[in-house]
Subunit: 684 residues, 2 copies
Amino acid sequence: MGYTKDDQLAIDTIRLLAVDATFTANSGHPGAPMGLAPAAHVMFNKFMSFNPSNPKWLNRDRFVLSNGHGCMLQYALLHLFGYKVSMDDIKAFRQVDSITPGHPEVMDTPGIEVTTGPLGQGFANAVGLAVAQAHTAAEFNKPGFDLITNHTFAFFGDGCAMEGIASEAASAAGHLQLGNLIMIYDDNHISIDGDTKCAFTEDVVKRFEAYGWHTQWVKEGDTDLEGIEKAIQIAKDVKDKPSMIKLTTTIGFGSLLQGTGGVHGNALKEDDCKQVKKKFGFNPDESFVVPQKVYEMYHKHAAEGAAKEAEWNKLLEKYGNEHKELAADLKRRLTGKLPEGWEKKLPTYKPGDKEQASRKLSEATLEAIHEVVPDLIGGSADLTGSNNTRWKNAIDFQPPSLGIGEYGGRYIRYGVREHAMAGMMNGISAYGTLIPFGGTFLNFVSYAAGSVRLSSLSHQRVIYVATHDSIGLGEDGPTHQPIETLAHFRALPNMMVWRPADGNECSAAYYMALTSTTTPSILALTRQNLPQLENSTLENGIKGGYVALENEKADITLVSTGSEVCICIEAVKYLKDKHNLTARVVSLPCFEVFDAQSKDYRLKVLPDGIPSMSVEVMSTLGWERYSHEQFGLNRFGASGAYKDVYKKFEFTPEGISKRAVATVDFYKGVKPRSPINRAFQQLI
Amino acid sequence: MGYTKDDQLAIDTIRLLAVDATFTANSGHPGAPMGLAPAAHVMFNKFMSFNPSNPKWLNRDRFVLSNGHGCMLQYALLHLFGYKVSMDDIKAFRQVDSITPGHPEVMDTPGIEVTTGPLGQGFANAVGLAVAQAHTAAEFNKPGFDLITNHTFAFFGDGCAMEGIASEAASAAGHLQLGNLIMIYDDNHISIDGDTKCAFTEDVVKRFEAYGWHTQWVKEGDTDLEGIEKAIQIAKDVKDKPSMIKLTTTIGFGSLLQGTGGVHGNALKEDDCKQVKKKFGFNPDESFVVPQKVYEMYHKHAAEGAAKEAEWNKLLEKYGNEHKELAADLKRRLTGKLPEGWEKKLPTYKPGDKEQASRKLSEATLEAIHEVVPDLIGGSADLTGSNNTRWKNAIDFQPPSLGIGEYGGRYIRYGVREHAMAGMMNGISAYGTLIPFGGTFLNFVSYAAGSVRLSSLSHQRVIYVATHDSIGLGEDGPTHQPIETLAHFRALPNMMVWRPADGNECSAAYYMALTSTTTPSILALTRQNLPQLENSTLENGIKGGYVALENEKADITLVSTGSEVCICIEAVKYLKDKHNLTARVVSLPCFEVFDAQSKDYRLKVLPDGIPSMSVEVMSTLGWERYSHEQFGLNRFGASGAYKDVYKKFEFTPEGISKRAVATVDFYKGVKPRSPINRAFQQLI
């Protein structure tokens, strides 16, 4: 309370930095920063604790700008508070290789918590950050040691409010009673198509009430700093519900075009820049101006944040004396490394061991490692019994008042909300203490594509447990049988798509997923049983591809993944018996990891001079990279018992052999170059 | 009202058909059909008009089972009312090549309106069907001729209610005040993870009220037939709001496991089948029993429906006398054919014509053809000015009371709701009188992946106008720049992915998209300007691939799409001048359409003996199918002015040439086979 002219000066400084940066870039979104500057000022300066000198301090309050197009707001704040974002960085807004890209990216800019911009993502990330805080607090806080107390603050706009992912995440957050989550809804009535009246006339506050949120409305968001402060304070005091504050603002406040779509996604015109500076009492002929007073005010708050961290570090030290193991565990988690020797718990198998569906193998892995990897926190989008994602004695992550779990629980019931699950997992991962995994059918990972993409782009260690990975799911039929899905995610940079063929490959997939700290993984797992293969070992598996069945002087290499590897191995016998052809089999559970092996190794697996044929029961797209010919399914599947479906599409030893024979014939007299040999390297 | 024992008999017959079919298949979902049979009975028999002898009668009431896993409910109804679904078909439930697959598919089963099962899709489809009805009625109904009066009825469950797509669609439907839409929410408290209490505790009715829906609650959904009837009647009487009736039911009503998750996705055990038959007064030792009375009751209703259609046909005939052109137009639309000569309106271009972004070329196409193709109804997910999807004099499709449009309007403001837009477009297309198109950034078509997949699977003529199709969008940066997206959708069966290089190719894309009545299309369009190419013609474009620049005795073929074709053409000159190499250029705007050309033609475009290199600024995955070497972007993009970004990643004549030289070197002394030549045909 007791706001002065200096506060207004700070707010207008933020506004004008957004005006100048977008004008200089001739690109970007000045409207939201100009409208939200007052709320940002109050929130950051009065409520948030953070230390710009150490943006990774664990107990900092988190801020998420879900309407990420307004990122000049965030860059301005980071600069003013003294993060490593210089005025030159601000001036390089939206230029190639700057640290101030068109939307906030966690990899680029110190102080950015999560990568946002695709609408609704930040909303789900914020819910995930709040989940992670609640869980970490429950695990580590002890009497006298309130170590983990941070809040998650977020802004979201009309666009986010319309997105399904935000609806899903809001419903989940309400259910989970996340009192540590405070979100401000920028009710500015403008989206790209103009007045929200043209598409969005629902009662947003009432909707959030229906989700179980605490709601408030600040009607004069442009000017009522005390009202904003009061609302945030009330929201902080509400401990058993997430809070949404509807803040009515004027987009582009101060511009001649304020309150219109004209100021949403376009820089202000030069004369408008000048008039707004004049209006705010700034020199219309100067740009990128920060009054010293403003720096001082914000640096003071930053120093208070640094002091809080110092205090917290002392608390942590004391905590370490009384709770040695917990403190060590917490510190280890923050390094991203797993507990020493954890990998010894990974199940291994030998040929002849029981046939099992890889979803069951995945379950066995989780069962085996969950104690030794306490960072794991998992769940499913309402397919727990099908995804096999829950270890036996798991406790649900639930608000205690429901009586069906606790915040210390490590199993999250995401509901039928695949997109929010993925977005929340990105937030959970970004928090820093946890490794999230989440289950759904492989086909429905596509529902989450927007968030999966951001797992990759923002380097989150997130694990998608994607069961029912092919036509092998059988009766559910084409609506549930992935065809394009693996191609989709294999084309996504920085994503490991695994399709293990047996138990050891499944363990290898988990090993790589858990130890790759900056790469997410999708584990495509079967519903149907698979035998344990001869040459499959953890060591082979973690190379992403290896020879599953070697044969000297082979006529053909069969390259396959998952449930088709064992059929290929049967086909080898069939080819010898019926066609007197010698085949070898390569298992290629993960393209991305195989690509990272030495060329020598890859050429041993896929050698020159032997024609090769891929076998996988889905789209062949992309398999041309690892094989000369492709046997797959470039059409939709069929509903029926899985063996009947495989037979219908000829994924049998006979069907494979027929095509292998055609391949060998086609390459008669040709010694084809291995597809590993390429004319030039790809850009990375 | 006045329900008798016969009604109960019909209801129990439906329940037991679901019990028997799932038991015989040993697979499927008996719970929902057993719980929803009373509501289905009342809805179909008391309210819905349809003619099983002509499932395509335009003015039939539409029914959508959004919780598609309960499809035995729908198959049982179709059988009982006399659609071409025999008892043998029911007995073949979930068997390969039956017409009763694991989830309802419009291509397979007469009487199924839309393909559902992936949760939330049917909900959005129903909203789309209601939009199409409202629009078609506004276009064709005239005083004295209430031709188009049907309602859309739908069921949805907790799973659908949790999905973001349903939230988006519900918000849109509320905004659009679709009084012709009546949806029953099966409030059975059970999803796959068990009691919905574990993840879904929001107030669903209040949420729908917030969206602007009319809501009711029938508390005894298992038994209160009169209450159900009354509620549906009230919903029908509400003309200015969509209606949601919360119907509290018992999943698996009658089973020993009723009210539990055990009866959701598993067949009943044998003894349970027997006891439920006994409980309902059926012989426990008989299966697939339909009492004659039940057939009679339903056939009577079917006959009434047939009579209604006959009456309607007379009305249409009379209408034809008074409104000749409208009647002819309506009849034409139902054939799927476009008005004769429409294609003459497609813009054509010649080399030297103005450079334009392909999003602008798309706009010009829509401007040119919207009058001659009145079936077109379009919109955007709140990116109208960026997608250029709105012709100049378009009227918005809006409820008249808002004063900003009318139901006769042909431009839909979808809001920031990509997934719902796509799902609604599937419903609009399924209605039968309209061809929907919808705009968003290519990167955000991924948000709609679940529905896009169903456009393909269910053969809907839906057009995705996907602008900002690459790193060429520039400053918005990696969060908005597609990398994996084209590979994703190229791997999707029955989807035309177009990336036109100029104006004539853009017209070709529209030509194919509009004339392919059973295949959806994605048009990937640039933000940046493109020149009009030398060899580009409509005739070449509609082949999906052609020689854009021929050169005899070429050393290399450059194969490209969209905005990179013109850079390849520049590279030809660069290669000649700097490296004395001769290159030819192929433009391949649509893989799917190119694949459908004769092998002869394809080999002319991509001949044997010449090494080829693809050039496209995104994932190279899949390009191995059309080229020997690939130049693309297997990493995320960058934020900056588009020319700087292209330069950074070397998509310049020089960068292309460097790699072309490496390719020519690599193939020195080798006469590579064209990638068109393959060892065997793919299954279709």
